[in-house]
Subunit: 197 residues, 2 copies
Amino acid sequence: MYTAESIEQLVEEFSSLPGIGRKSAHRLAMHILKLPKPDVVKIAEALVNVKERINYCNICWNFTEENPCRICSNHNRNRSLICVVEDPNDVIAIEKTHEYKGLYHVLGDALSPLDGIGPEDLKIKELLHRIEGSVQEIILAMNASIEGEATTIYLSRLLKPLGMKITRLARGIPVGSDLEFTDEATLARALQSRTEV
Amino acid sequence: MYTAESIEQLVEEFSSLPGIGRKSAHRLAMHILKLPKPDVVKIAEALVNVKERINYCNICWNFTEENPCRICSNHNRNRSLICVVEDPNDVIAIEKTHEYKGLYHVLGDALSPLDGIGPEDLKIKELLHRIEGSVQEIILAMNASIEGEATTIYLSRLLKPLGMKITRLARGIPVGSDLEFTDEATLARALQSRTEV
């Protein structure tokens, strides 16, 4: 279809990325063709760099360039608090709130028997290994999905006997949203967890 | 904000592409992190290859790896017909119809005095140079925009004195669309250009 092999190849590569269809891939390829060569080389280098430099932190299993990662090696963080999340994205989301000063533990995924993801596929063994006497609270910050719920229940059962406080994120009405447009499940949870003013 | 410099850099690069916001850029970067390294190298190579191998065809000014391009050097194409388009994308769009067997000429843009694009910025001189005795018809296939219209009018005035047939794409109701949802301008053009059944 295209008049040049290398354009076709680039469109193929772009299409293979999530959320990029054939049309967007084609628009992106045309954009690349119009960019100055040094800019394109910079993009290509950023791609390869990320694969070459990024590893998993051996403590929290977040992505990192150094090992241990900047958060694990930061002595200003509260080491008695571990927030367990599914994904590195979740660490970023929580960091953005500037509300949390403890450490993290990235499971890598959530339990999902239907997709063949069991406890041994998550960094649960590694979580148990790093919990020592100084940890006072573990926050289970899973997504509000079925898999997230299953993971929360599994982990709370596993961790409770160890004696530390196990908490989870509050469920309720998102800030800024209308009652009218809040789904029933969220509204029910908001009612159950109502707080005194 | 991110825990690693190289992820931040990749997110920046993705965000600089058209139609990719900060959130998509971040999702793409996370996808890249999860891909096997050879796949990422393949994407990086496709990017650099396209800049290294692609040039403009010296006859039609379309993107090409060979010079002249595959269409210009294909002797099965009708050399008495030149279709003038704004952009390489337009060549691909017309090729997809499998309706056209002539040659192309890519102007590179449309006339747009407000953006400072005048006739000397388009490949018009090059078009005049390549028109010889054997060319019988020139199809002006500009976009249906104000700039496209202006370019069509400019080129038709320039080319008509040379004696060959000058045509333009028909305007009318798109195939498959409802009268009800067709804009007034299109409907008016469809009425003016009505054909006998």
